[in-house]
């Protein structure tokens, strides 16, 4: 029923991504930025509608299956992007963020979107809180990842003294460095809260806070990776090294989401 909204969202994102790519590739064309932004907004509204309708249909927050959580992650990243774009007005972000959203959402197009039955033991208010926090944390990490890639591109061009077309569209190194760091300082606490609420939920469902299932273990590793990253930042690491670490951190997130989550063992398997 509500699938048309999903496709409308996806199409809007595709259009926005195309527009943003034209914007960054053609340094003399400025206009594609604005329609692309509105396409993203439209896409997000469709996405939200789809999400709400699915919620209404299934009677629970729709983030339990792999299809649903990939969907939710995509939505989270778009939300983070929209907030950042409104706040900092850097259209070049869209040229990287929207393609990422589309890539991350590819599985949702391939996989069945059927609503699956859920173990009643898990039905709890904590489900929504735990997953929302975790996914928002991931979205913030995704943002740091994207900004870090942009940083590395610009840093490389500045060092090589070869200033390509993209160069004129990218914001300053300082802004990108700061944004990536800010995203981490927001993402990490969200991620932490996500883990805490998850363990509270686990305790209410199974009577144990922590059971070393693959997802839990991997999340802990990811959490430690970002903790180390933040620590290195406080002792003065900046720029290229931080960007590389941030990209590495997000690879842990991706593995957690797309690999560990698919391993057919433990409680987090969808």
């Amino acid at each position: 029923m509500n699938l048309p909204f999903f496709y409308a969202a996806l199409c809007s994102y595709l259009l926005a991504a195309a527009g943003y790519l034209v914007y960054i590739a053609k340094s003399d064309l400025k206009w594609p930025a604005l329609p692309s932004f509105w396409a993203t907004v439209a896409g997000f509204i469709f996405h939200l509608l789809y999400f709400s309708l699915r919620w209404a249909e299934s009677g629970r927050i729709p983030i339990t299956s792999f299809f649903e959580s990939a969907n939710f992650l995509g939505m989270g990243i778009v939300l983070v992007f929209l907030i950042m774009e409104l706040r900092f007005k850097i259209p070049a972000l869209g040229s990287f963020m929207l393609p990422l959203v589309i890539i991350l959402m590819i599985p949702t197009v391939i996989l069945s979107g059927d609503i699956q039955e859920m173990n009643t033991v898990l039905k709890s208010g904590w489900l929504g809180v735990h997953t929302s926090l975790a996914v928002l944390g991931d979205a913030a990490f995704a943002f740091a990842f994207i900004v870090s890639i942009m940083y590395l591109i610009q840093e490389h061009q500045l060092k090589a003294k070869h200033l390509g077309t993209i160069f004129h569209r990218l914001p300053s190194l300082d802004i990108m460095d700061t944004l990536a760091y800010r995203a981490l300082t927001i993402g990490w606490p969200l991620f932490t809260l996500g883990m805490i609420t998850g363990s509270i939920w686990a305790n209410s469902a199974w009577g144990t806070y922590w059971s070393w299932d693959p997802k839990e273990t991997w999340s802990l590793i990811t959490w430690v990776v970002y903790l180390i990253l933040l620590h290195l930042r406080t002792i003065g690491w900046r720029g290229r090294k931080m960007a590389l670490l941030s990209i590495m951190g997000f690879i842990f997130v991706l593995v957690s989401f797309y690999v560990i989550g698919r391993v057919p063992m433990g409680k987090h398997t969808f």
Partner: protein
């Protein structure tokens, strides 16, 4: 005599070659004197800037002159003439004049229209004047070049939109730091270009300016101009912790900033990025440090890439400037032509007088017992004969002086009266001396 320019610029040689072949200001007078000791080189001027090293000369014979100048460059810099071939360009006669005008008007500059080159040419001219290596021909050439540059500047918009190194510096700083508000720039050494860049940065929000100079008084003076603070040269590595942007042009022969200094500064800054601009030739900052994280080093050549796009927009103005230069080259050549005619007339008269005197002396020696009156009469008669003979050729040559297309006639006359052999011995001193007083053709 002809004008010959031999040189190299950012267009023909990378900075590594330019710095090897550059002349430091202090040694230019010495080099000029050395240059004039080469065969056939009458006048000389050395223009050595970050972007070009050029030797302007007035030589007897352009082909031989070129060889001599090349020899001078390779002797002075201890390199083989063959290694120079690739980088050197040669402009003789009309092309030499045109080149001088184009350089002065900043049409040959890395950043077309940048104003510094004219000042640098004036300085080079002053140095040559003081060293007494610039004479009639070069004086005229450079003075004319300066006036052409002024004409180009007022009649075209080329300088108006001049975006120079300083523009590139601001753009790159923005790419690194974003807002320049509250940033600090440090000037290491002084120089027109460095000061211009600093001023530009200041206009764009840079808050404080630090100035370090080997001569502390200079630093204080410059710092006052920028409302900044002076730093003792020995202290600059420590002060670098404060500096986001460093513009270096100390004129030191070696690297002033290397790995150690940079590492310390970055550590002190907790790795906040540093943007370094090295506009000194030879370079003052070790190029290797560009590999260090959070440090961006640009030299003169690198900045070119950034400003390239701006050059295109000014092509039309540049074309108009080229037209002006073509006109001015024309008037200069007319002057040179008339100068040649004047010189030929002077030489012809001198030669005839010489012959007359010799023959007269010979005859008078053999005539014994004639009175003083008779002697005077013979003298007067010989003068009259000579004057009558040269009268017609001189009238023709004078007409030739006013006519631009009389080159053939002049060389024909010189051949006919066999003037060129004499020229090699004496004519230069006489020629320069006699025409130096009255400079014709101030166009």
């Amino acid at each position: 005599m002809s004008i010959v320019v031999v040189g190299l610029s950012h267009k023909t040689a990378p900075v590594e070659v330019r710095e090897k072949l550059s002349f430091s200001d202090a040694l230019v007078p010495e080099a000029l004197k050395m240059l004039l000791r080469y065969d056939g080189i009458r006048e000389g001027l050395i223009l050595s800037t970050c972007n070009r090293v050029e030797i302007y000369t007035c030589v007897l014979d352009s082909l031989k002159g070129v060889e001599q100048i090349k020899q001078f460059i390779s002797d002075y810099h201890h390199c083989s003439p063959a290694s120079l071939e690739q980088s050197l360009y040669i402009h003789a006669d009309m092309q030499g004049v045109r080149h001088a005008f184009r350089v002065a008007s900043s049409l040959d500059s890395m950043v077309v229209g940048e104003p510094q080159i004219l000042g640098q040419l004036k300085d080079a001219f002053d140095t040559a004047l003081k060293a007494k290596t610039s004479g009639l021909m070069l004086n005229k050439l450079i003075k004319k070049a300066i006036s052409v540059a002024k004409r180009v500047r007022t009649e075209t918009k080329i300088a108006e939109s001049a975006v120079s190194i300083s523009y590139a510096a601001v753009e790159l700083s923005r790419k690194i730091f974003g807002d320049l508000e509250g940033k600090t720039v440090m000037l290491l050494g002084a120089g027109e270009m460095a000061e211009l860049a600093a001023r530009h940065l200041q206009h764009n929000g840079v808050k404080s300016v630090l100035v370090a100079n080997r001569t502390f008084e200079h630093a204080v003076e410059l710092a006052r101009e920028f409302n900044g603070s002076a730093v003792h040269f020995e202290d600059f590595p420590a002060e670098m912790v404060m500096a986001d942007i460093i513009i270096c042009s100390t004129g030191a022969p070696t690297y002033v900033i290397g790995h150690d200094i940079v590492h310390k500064a970055l550590k002190g800054r907790r790795n906040k990025p540093i943007f370094m601009i090295d506009i000194s030739v030879p370079r003052n900052i070790d190029p290797e440090i560009n590999k260090i994280d959070n440090l961006f080093l640009y030299n003169i050549d690198d900045l070119q890439g950034v400003v390239n796009s701006n050059i295109e927009g000014r092509t039309r103005e540049a074309e108009r400037a080229e037209e002006i230069i073509t006109q001015e080259v024309e008037t200069y050549l007319q002057w040179e032509q008339s100068l040649d005619a004047v010189l030929t007339i002077v030489e012809l008269r001198d030669k005839m007088e010489d012959i007359r005197r010799k023959e007269l002396d010979k005859t008078l020696c053999q005539l014994n017992g004639i009175t003083e009156d008779q002697r005077r009469m013979i003298d007067a008669m010989s003068s009259a004969i000579v004057n009558k003979i040269v009268h017609a050729p001189i009238v023709v040559l004078k007409q030739a002086a006013a006519n631009a297309e009389s080159g053939d006639l002049l060389s024909f006359a010189r051949k006919l009266f066999n003037l060129d052999k004499e020229l090699k011995k004496h004519a230069h001193e006489k020629g320069c001396g006699s025409s130096g007083k009255d400079e014709p053709g101030k166009g």
